[in-house]
Structure formats: C-alpha cells, structure tokens
C-alpha cells in the first residue's frame, strides 16, 4: 500500500491508502475524495480529473503521456507546468507519500 494525499483548492488535506497499480483518479473516486470527477473513467477524454502534482513529486510521477497535453487543454482550470490528468498517473511503490493539489473546478 502507498499513501496519497489530495489537497483541495481550499487547503483541506485527505490522505488515503492506495494499491500500487491503481491510478490517482481511481484512488480518489474509491475513497470519496471530492474535487476529482473522472467522468470518462480514465480514458483520457474528459479532463475532469485534472490535478497539480506537488513540486517535490514531479520527478517520481514522470512525464505527461501521449495525448495528455491536448486533453489538458480541455481542463476547466488553469493548466500549469505541474498539471497532470490524474487518471494517467499510475501509482508505484516509490510514490508512497505522493501529494497532489486539486484545482477549483473540474467541469
């Protein structure tokens, strides 16, 4: 198990346990974390799972996937350098402690 912390736009922090292999969007949904919608189920077609990876973690979460840039353009909130679609971040053991920040709006 790895721990993932979601920091809502208002600063509220929620830390949950996640199974490596799952992704950051699905983990949020499974644990009723507000602020991630994930309406397309991870197909990279809705941009309602937008998150900002905490600066300390961008190396571990790696580069954006093919096509992710284009879909991020469809996100409701501002896209920053640390922006990712959380459905595209697959959790691995070395992401234990991962922190992601959530935008104000997703849709």
């Amino acid at each position: 198990m790895v721990k993932v912390t979601y920091v809502a736009a208002d600063g509220t922090r929620t830390t949950v346990d996640a199974a490596p292999g799952s992704n950051v969007m699905q983990t949020a949904l499974d644990n009723d974390v507000d602020g991630i919608v994930g309406e397309c189920g991870g197909a990279m077609m809705c941009a309602t799972c937008h998150c900002y990876v905490d600066d300390d973690w961008t190396e571990k979460t790696g580069e954006r996937h093919d096509g992710e840039d284009d879909m991020l353009d469809c996100a409701a909130d501002e896209v920053k350098e640390t922006s990712r679609l959380s459905c595209q971040i697959k959790l691995t053991e070395d992401m234990d402690g991962l922190i992601v920040h959530l935008p104000e709006e997703q849709a």
Binding site: E39, C40, G41, M45, C74, A107
Partner: protein
C-alpha cells in the same frame, strides 16, 4: 452459466412512451435481459453500463448493424475505436473547451440567449420548447461549429432527421431517403463554410479541422460536423426542457437553486433524472459473463444510462428530481473513450448561461398544467412541449 433471460413483453413503442417503469422492473428482476423487439441485450444497472463503456477493447463501438452508417452516409467517429477515434475526435475537441467558451464565446452565447428571450411576450402561455430550448441551442451550435449561413430551422431539422435516421432500427427506406437529402444539403453548407474559414480562421470546430497542420480526411470533417449537429441541438434542448420542468414542478427546490445560484447542480440533476441520450450500443468482442449471464462474442449490448442514472444502489428516491443530492455521479455523458465531447459546453451553455438567464427574465414563470407536458423517446428522450406562463 445461463444465457440472459428473454423479455418478449417489452415493445419499442412502450419504451418510447415511458421506459422508466420498465427499467425499474428490469433493474430489480432481470438487470441483463435480451429484448427481441430491440434486438439487443439491455444492461440496466450502473455497474454494468459503466464497466462496458469503460472497456472499449472488450466492448467495441463498431456496431456493424447500426443504422448510423446509412443515416450519416459515413463511418463516423461514434462507431470507431482506438487511435482512429481519438484522432478524429481531438481534431475538433479544442473548439469545445471551457477556456475557449469562457474567453471567446460566453458573451456571444449570453447575447443570443437574451435576444431570443426578448422576443417572448410577458403574461402569456408560450411553448418554451419551441420558442427557446430548440432555437437557442441551434443558434449557439452554429457559432460553435462555424456554420454561419445556416438557419435555426435548418439546423433543427437536420438534427432531428439525423437522429431519426440513426434510430431507424426498422431500416425504413423512407427515413434514409430523408437523411440522404439532409446529407446533401449539409455537405453544400459545410463546403461553403470551410472555404470562408480557410480565408478567415476562427475558433469554431470546422475552422480548427480545415486549418489543422495535419487535417483529417474531408469525409471525416463532414462526418464530425454532422455528428455535432445530431448531438448538439437535441441534447441541450432536451436537458433544458427537463430542468425547466423539474424546477417548475418543485418550487421549493427552485427557490433554493435561486438563493444558492445552484444552476450547475440543477443541470446535473436534470440530466441524471432524464438523460437526453438514454442508451448506446456496444458489441462484445469475446465470450464474457455479465451479472451471471453468458454473453457471446458478437452479441450487441445496449447500455441503458437512463436506467443506470436511476439505479437504487446509487441514488435515494432515484425516480424523482432532487437538485440537492449529496453525490450526483451520473452517466448522462457516458463514460470511457466516447464520453460526450460536448459535456463542458453543455454544462456551461445550459447550466451557466441559459437557465439563469431564463429564470432571471421571468422570475414568476409557472407551468400551469404539468400534465400537458408530453415526454417521448427511447434512444433520445425529453419533453416535446413546455407550455409555460411567462411572468
């Protein structure tokens, strides 16, 4: 495992009139059921519809028996999978982003809505479905797509004809003759508009497609625009009419929506309650089991999101309209690779612009006879009239 049970009793005409009691019974008794009149296996539980839509490899959109192909005279992206689907979709997706709407179009949409509201008489009973829901949706779509020169009436007629053709499961040749003519008319318009947009590009979907560095084939440009016409009018129109009905028949909710400016929540509940697109087809690519029933490779499944959206496992008092639900995770926009490309636009135009403008303009509007509102549709559903007294 056994095959899914067969329900001979369900006829298409019953589903068109009122499918909800039928779906409720199916969810309770036969959540996976073969319905000969529709020639498909219906899935009515949220868990199953989502699972099927999320797994595009096992459940293909490429339904060989879909009447969509003759209706659109094209193999459209709706019936494609994988990279080809993504490429054709992304070719126009950027015209549908929240940012483009906010920065370039929101004011145009507000002005259009205001202009159509200006035409309405105060103190009289008016069919809002006819006067507002359809025409405003059509006019806004003309801007989004870049189809200047089309009339609201043309857009609404084409949209309806494409939808009737796509739902022509009985393969009636007269309906395809109608879509043939509509296709010819649309092709002429699309070609004219493309020529203008090549010279004067803007942020419309057609402009993005024709001016792209690596454009998709012309046949798919046409097909994409037609899909957007087929899907871009009825859905906002029906969503809007449904939400108006929900709010006017629940005045205490309307008051609270006004107080909190919760138009977004009203929008979500409207499309959950009566999803404008009620069901979709997928083809099983392998032998598989769903809900304890054997599904054979090649079987055509129908995911009924209309029913998933009322699944008792997910919602309390699911048959009724309640804006202020704790959680409202619905499947009105589908899921998986074919998640509705217009979801952001619908939320912003209908939820953030059209609904508040209407209720601000006519704060004491009433629906004198809710019984007079008629609802229709199996594949696509919504009210077909909305006689409201404006005040």
């Amino acid at each position: 495992m056994p095959l899914a049970p067969v329900d001979e009793s369900v006829m298409i005409k019953d589903l068109v009139l009122d499918p909800y009691p039928i779906y409720r019974r199916m969810r309770a008794e036969t959540p996976v059921v073969r319905v000969p009149s529709v020639n498909r296996t219906l899935l009515t539980k949220a868990e199953f519809t989502k699972m099927v839509k999320d797994d595009a490899e096992l459940f293909s959109s490429n339904d060989p028996e879909s009447p969509m192909h003759p209706a659109f005279r094209a193999h459209t992206l709706m019936r494609k999978d994988g990279d080809e689907h993504r490429r054709e979709r992304m070719a126009m997706q950027k015209a549908f982003t929240p940012k483009i709407i906010k920065t370039n179009w929101a004011q145009v949409y507000r002005d259009i809505t205001a202009e159509y509201l200006d035409r309405l008489p105060r103190g009289e009973t008016v069919d809002l479905y006819q006067e507002i829901c359809g025409p405003v949706s059509a006019r806004i779509l003309i801007h989004i797509l870049g189809l200047h020169g089309a009339s609201d009436e043309d857009m609404m007629r084409w949209s309806q004809q494409l939808i009737d053709g796509a739902g022509n499961f009985g393969w009636d040749p007269d309906l395809f003759a109608i879509t043939d003519r509509a296709n010819q008319e649309m092709n002429v318009l699309i070609a004219d508009c493309a020529e203008r947009l090549r010279a004067e590009p803007d942020d419309s979907a057609l402009s993005l497609m024709v001016n792209a560095a690596d454009p998709i084939p012309w046949s798919q440009v046409e097909a994409n625009i037609k899909i957007a016409i087929g899907g871009g009018i009825n859905e906002p129109r029906d969503a809007m009419a449904t939400i108006i009905y929900g709010l006017l028949t629940n005045p205490e909710q309307l008051e609270e929506v006004r107080r909190q400016e919760a138009w977004g929540a009203a929008f979500e509940e409207g499309v959950r309650w009566v999803a404008p697109i009620q069901c979709s087809s997928r083809v099983a690519m392998d032998d598989i089991q769903i809900g304890g029933c054997d599904i054979a490779k090649g079987d055509i499944l129908m995911t009924v999101q209309a029913s998933a959206n009322r699944d008792e496992d997910l919602y309390e008092d699911s048959e009724n309209f309640h804006v202020f639900r704790d959680k409202n995770v619905h499947q009105a926009f589908g899921s998986g690779p074919h998640h509705c490309a217009g979801a952001h636009i619908a939320r912003r135009t209908v939820g953030e612009i059209m609904m508040p403008a209407l209720f601000e303009r006519f704060p004491n509007m009433t629906l004198p006879d809710p019984e007079a509102v008629k609802w229709r549709g199996f594949g696509f559903r919504g009210p077909i009239n909305m006689p409201v007294t404006l005040n």
